[in-house]
């Protein structure tokens, strides 16, 4: 049982009334791994997380968490998981500390450890000075941080975080990533959903893209990036004439698909990204006597992957200014 993957879902389907949301989702989260679930709004990320965390029964398919069936052995599953959902689950009338202590006790943390663990998390999420205040007086970002702390209090074997960094300022997001890395380093397996591809790049060993109720891609960030293209040296030239000269020296034709759409003054030279190859390209540009306005080495981003796979650009949620 302890060798089972952290999460194993096969053919999960779900419909709300007549609206089908999941249409056969297969997912595996290996032990000790971080899996980022990406997908546009309404793709079913939250639905998937709710099914895996026993909050919702799937219409079809099956899922096991740490070897336990999420429907038939829900109680066993709950003993090993922890989940922080998309909407806040804290008591406004209690203080930050009271909230965490309540969660620590319900998670059956040994009594002697409760205090130390709560202090640790208050520190880690920069809430120590507000710990004695009612949560009702917290800013949006502080509430979110407390909510995340509450989900981490139990040091679960399998952790689910649904859009954990939504509403956090960049500094708070860094803090969150630090805590998450720390928890993972201690053996927790993590499934998170996110709209920030940087977050997936930073944290995830593997990325699964959910679209149209199915997993449309699954792999390491690097492997997914490789699917949409390779790295390139991009050259920005002053005139179309320059571009033509450099292009012929490098055996390239300037034109659409290179740099800005329709631009005739940009060139894109595929590269394997090694120092030797990039230097070679630049030497050959130099030899033409043309001075580019600028140049850079670009590699495909997860954004490119996401766009290519789902046909939607990522929503870039606006940074919320209410985080403390």
């Amino acid at each position: 049982m302890n060798d089972s993957p952290a999460v194993e879902a096969e053919g999960l389907t779900h419909r709300y009334g007549s609206v089908g949301v999941l249409d056969g989702v297969d997912l595996t989260l290996h032990r000790g791994e971080v899996l980022a679930l990406l997908g546009p709004n309404g793709a079913g990320k939250t639905t998937t997380v709710r099914i895996l965390s026993t909050l919702l029964e799937p219409t079809g398919g099956r899922a096991r968490v740490a070897g336990f069936d999420v429907v038939r052995e829900a109680r066993r599953v709950r003993e090993v998981i922890s989940v922080t959902g998309q909407s806040a689950a804290v008591d406004d009338k209690l203080t930050g500390r009271e909230n965490l202590v309540t969660m620590a006790r319900l998670a059956h943390l040994p009594r002697a450890e409760v205090r130390a663990r709560v202090d640790e998390l208050l520190d880690a999420f920069d809430l120590a000075s507000a710990a004695g205040r009612r949560v009702g007086t917290y800013s949006g970002g502080m509430r979110r941080r407390l909510d995340l702390a509450a989900g981490l209090v139990a040091r679960p074997r399998v952790l689910f975080l649904d859009e954990p960094s939504t509403g956090l300022d960049p500094r708070a997001r860094q803090d969150l990533w630090d805590v998450v890395r720390d928890v993972v380093a201690q053996g927790t397996s993590l499934l998170l959903t996110t709209q920030y591809l940087e977050e997936a790049d930073q944290l995830a060993d593997r990325v699964a893209v959910l679209d149209g109720g199915r997993v449309v891609a699954d792999g390491t960030p690097a492997a997914l990036k490789a699917r949409v293209g390779e790295a390139a040296v991009e050259l920005d030239l002053a005139t179309a004439d320059d571009a033509a000269r450099v292009g012929s020296a490098l055996g390239l034709v300037p034109g659409p698909g290179v740099g800005e759409p329709g631009a005739t003054t940009a060139l894109r030279v595929p590269t394997d990204g090694t120092l030797a190859h990039v230097r070679d390209v630049l030497d050959r540009v130099d030899a033409t006597g043309v001075v580019p306005r600028g140049w850079s080495v670009v590699s495909p981003t997860l954004d490119d992957v996401y766009l290519a796979l789902t046909g939607h650009p990522t929503e870039h949620p606006t940074e919320q200014e209410d985080a403390a």
Partner: protein
């Protein structure tokens, strides 16, 4: 950032040896603590929970009292009406519990509890116990005010304990009913509307006027609804009126109401898993 240094996964070790129920007592205690804290932070409701019954008592005693007194034999109207005010007070308390349960269920926190190895209904028990604690406090204040106004019970210690016991039983019964309302309704407005019934029912009982003065239909209801035996029991214990079969009826009603609604609330609450958040 600080490093999280405590030994990992102490909980898993503790939990893996756990049978369901091993942590039941501790979970109930944690939930009770949470609910009592929530209640104690809701100062507005506490103040209203005392102020409204006191205001009603003033109105009944000084405004209607003179007229009603004429129909009573022996005792003062204040002595007659105080047990009824105590039950009204319990009704306000229960109405607040319905709102608190509804808010819990509607908010995200129940999802967090449900994703933990905690038996769902311990949350409901927490609310009911907190309600009893709160009502003991508010009832104490209301009885104190009645005493200042001239309420003079002639009860022995045993009779006092009996009266407190029956009040607690009644609070438990209507709080379970209120908890059921909180679990079932989908909005705060619906919870308020449903609990209005609870606040209204005591008026058609022997709480404020003897049922003999009511038209036949209302009288029939007043004499057979649960509030009347509860009132008569408290009244009998505190002011020495005729008890008759009231204590037995009161206990049966309270235990019956509490059991039925506790089971219904537990079943409905336990089922909410299919609901999406």
């Amino acid at each position: 950032m600080t490093t999280l240094a405590t030994a990992p996964r102490a909980r898993t070790a503790a939990a893996s040896s756990a049978r369901p129920g091993a942590h039941l007592a501790a979970d109930v205690w944690t939930m009770v603590r949470r609910c009592v804290l929530l209640v104690s932070r809701d100062v507005d409701s506490l103040v209203m929970g005392v102020a409204l019954p006191v205001m009603l008592m003033v109105v009944f005693v000084y405004v209607f009292g003179g007229a009603i007194q004429a129909g009573l034999d022996g005792t003062t109207y204040l002595n007659y009406v105080t047990p009824g005010i105590v039950l009204l007070c319990a009704g306000f308390g229960a109405a607040n519990t319905a709102l608190a349960v509804q808010q819990d269920v509607a908010g995200g926190i129940v999802d967090r509890f449900r994703s933990m190895p905690v038996t769902a209904w311990t949350l409901l028990v927490g609310h009911v116990v907190a309600s009893v604690v709160k009502n003991l406090v508010t009832t104490g204040v209301v009885v104190g005010v009645a005493y200042l106004m001239g309420f003079r019970p002639d009860a022995t210690l045993a009779e006092w304990l009996g009266a407190v016991g029956i009040i607690v039983l009644w609070v438990v019964a209507i709080t379970w009913a209120a908890t059921f309302v909180g679990v079932v309704v989908r909005s705060v407005d619906a919870a308020s509307a449903a609990t209005f019934v609870m606040l209204f029912v005591p008026y058609v009982s022997s709480a404020f006027v003897p049922p003999q003065t009511m038209p036949a239909l209302l009288r029939g209801f007043a004499e057979h609804q649960p509030v009347t035996p509860v009132i008569e029991t408290i009244r009998g214990l505190l002011t020495g009126t005729e008890l008759g079969t009231s204590p037995v009826l009161a206990v049966v009603w309270c235990v019956g109401i509490a059991t039925v609604f506790a089971v219904l609330a537990g079943v409905v609450f336990g089922r909410r898993r299919h609901r999406a958040g």
